[in-house]
């Protein structure tokens, strides 16, 4: 019972980070029809930029912002150099192109930072007592912060002028362009926002298990599962699905090893595809 509560808490914390990664991914997909295979690498690079900034500034929050901005700029560069030429081609080619990008980024990180995992120290070191366990406040802070960023994104999309531009572009690219919205710029901005969110989640997640060059692959896979389970291009769906999947994995970890617990989320994906291919957390399409 006590373990169940702890695992629920762990699941929600992991789910919030995952939601941050997945909402960037689903935003990019919804607007550009781009499946960003390099999303996990942006997460990983964000964490690395965070560690580097930490060494210089010794301030976690500065590192968080610097990483998000740096990776957002990198995202903009990737969008302009790699994805813009592919506009109008088969969406499948974007998988291939971003896959090439992910190869470059992952091995660049290995080359630049080496194979030894880096530590990223927590900004909040307090604990509180949860049954017979010391539960760090930092984990709670992650969940709250992730929720705040996602909430900010939601408000921005709903009420901000540029957010409305973005939603208009999602609905009808040609019409938006005719209305004077600079669609190519919107594409760059969306990719940058998605990349920045991935980087922010990388920095937030960094202190939990350390930063290494191969962590991106795992997160790409996880984010894909979430985005499919939640319904592709659906922001609310991906958030619910992130928490759902993370809770499942956390409970499964009570019985089997964590490396086997991922199978549970794979099975959840397959069942979703069989029963409700449009996604678990979206209204039935009419």
């Amino acid at each position: 019972m006590e373990q169940l509560v702890v695992q629920t808490l762990n699941g929600i914390v992991a789910g919030m980070i995952l939601a941050l990664v997945a909402s960037g991914l689903t935003l990019i997909f919804g607007i550009m029809d781009v499946v960003n295979f390099a999303h996990g690498e942006l997460f990983m690079l964000g964490a690395y930029v965070g560690t580097t900034t930490m060494v210089v500034t010794h301030n976690f929050w500065v590192a968080l912002v610097v990483a998000a901005v740096t990776i957002a700029l990198l995202g903009a560069v990737i969008q302009i150099t790699t994805l813009r030429p592919l506009l109008g081609r088969d969406p499948l080619t974007t998988i291939l192109a971003t896959f090439g990008v992910s190869l470059v980024l992952q091995n660049y990180a290995l080359w630049q930072y080496g194979p030894v995992p880096r530590k990223l120290s927590e900004p909040i070191t307090g604990h509180f007592k949860l049954f017979d366990l010391e539960y760090p406040y930092y984990r709670i802070a992650i969940a709250v912060l992730s929720a705040a960023i996602i909430g900010g994104l939601y408000l921005f999309l709903k009420y901000g002028t540029y957010g409305i531009w973005i939603r208009a572009t999602t609905q009808d690219r040609v019409m938006a362009s005719a209305m004077g919205i600079p669609v190519p710029l919107v594409h760059v901005a969306v990719f940058a926002i998605g990349a920045g969110m991935a980087a922010a989640s990388g920095v937030l997640f960094g202190p939990l298990i350390g930063v290494n060059h191969a962590m991106g692959t795992d997160w790409t896979l996880k984010a894909f599962i979430v985005v499919v389970v939640g319904g592709m291009g659906n922001l609310g769906g991906s958030i619910l699905a992130s928490i759902f999947i993370s809770l499942l994995e956390a409970y499964a970890a009570l019985w089997v090893s964590p490396s086997q617990a991922v199978i549970v989320s794979f099975v959840a994906l397959i069942l979703t595809l069989l029963i409700r291919p449009t996604g678990l957390f979206v209204p039935t399409p009419k």
Binding site: V35, T82, P85, L86, R89, P91, L92, T93, I95, L96, A97, F99, G100, V101, S102, L103, V104, Q106, N107, Y108, L110, W111, T217, L221, F224, I225, V228, M232, S257, S259, Q260, V262, I263, F266, L269, I270, L273, L274, P277
Partner: protein, 317 residues
């Protein structure tokens, strides 16, 4: 309709085959082995081309079929003494076929990106199972076994030399190529290409699209499994690394680099990629993937037909 025999095509075919046949006689051992491996990876890439190039489905999970072929062969070679080649082939193919049937049944319900993601996830499931089920699969260490003799049970049995192994691989790959080529030109293959061009229309004409896709995935998985068996024979071990998504990704790279929808293109792509890796890793060690990734991305953007794309019409004649 009678087809004009394409003299240029068959001349090219015979010349390339002759060169590959002569390769072990003239090349030093290292490069002999290199050419054999190109053929094996080429077979894997070719099997994936059935889906990518002809049916329009990008599989990111070919490592599952390849790996299960490999472990299937390993199981047969370890279980029976003395190791038997025919049994290894059958066991590897059965292993790959079971996985392929499983993946095909679920994944073909989905299209485009969803298909790619599902195949990727399936291959990871098999990776996790093989990686963690240490008692049976050897876990991270994998399995090692000895190479069987070449022969027919009760007829003859001679041990493989490195030359005859190369010829055996060459024969299997060439045979597979001819079979796959025949399949893509058959009415069945035409339906697959119709699905690639326009799926709703193919369905409207009355073809059971899902059934065609399932058969296509199974066929593709079977040949990928065959490549896995060959790789097991060549290297005498099976390891979970070969079920990991890196292998699937490389399979896609071979296809894109070589030219999808040509069957031989993927083999050329495999050769190009492995040569690139060999050349670059001499002075870049494991970071060779940085330039490879750049070249790959540039090729997706600027040369979407791949190296042999310009020959597509000739090759499919």
């Amino acid at each position: 309709m009678t087809r004009r025999p394409d003299v240029a095509y068959w001349t090219g075919f015979v010349v390339v085959l002759a060169l590959l046949f002569a390769a072990p006689l003239v090349l030093p051992e290292f490069w002999r082995r290199f050419v054999t491996e190109i053929l094996i990876w080429g077979l894997l890439a070719m099997s994936s081309d059935i889906l990518i190039g002809y049916t329009g489905m990008i599989s990111f999970g070919h490592s599952a079929f390849f790996g299960l072929g490999m472990y299937g062969a390993a199981a047969a070679l370890l279980a029976v003494a003395p190791p038997n080649l025919a049994l290894a082939l059958v066991s590897g193919l059965v292993g790959a076929a079971i996985v392929a049937a499983f993946v095909a049944y679920f994944a073909t319900r989905l299209r485009d990106i969803y298909f790619s993601i599902t195949t990727l996830v399936f291959s990871q499931i098999f990776y996790v199972i093989i990686f963690t089920w240490t008692d049976v699969t050897g876990g991270e260490n994998g399995l090692t076994f000895s190479r069987p003799n070449f022969g027919l049970p009760g007829w003859f049995s001679i041990p493989f030399t490195s030359d005859s192994l190369h010829w055996f691989v060459l024969a299997v790959v060439t045979g597979s190529y001819l079979v796959l080529r025949r399949i893509t030109q058959s009415p069945f293959g035409m339906v697959l290409q119709a699905i690639r061009e326009n799926e709703p229309r193919t369905r409207a004409i009355g073809y059971p699209v899902e059934r065609y896709k399932i058969v296509a995935v199974m066929l593709s998985g079977l040949f990928a499994g065959l490549a896995g068996v060959l790789y097991a024979l060549q290297n005498k071990f099976a390891a979970p690394d070969f079920v990991f998504l890196v292998i699937s990704a490389e399979t896609v790279i071979y296809n894109v680099m070589g030219g999808v929808g040509t069957l031989v293109g993927p083999i050329a792509g495999a050769a190009f990629f492995l040569l690139l890796r060999e050349g670059l890793s001499r002075f870049l060690t494991e970071y060779y993937l940085i330039p490879v990734g750049l070249i790959f991305t540039a090729m997706v953007i600027f040369v979407p037909q791949g190296l042999l794309g310009f020959l597509k019409r000739r090759l499919n004649q």
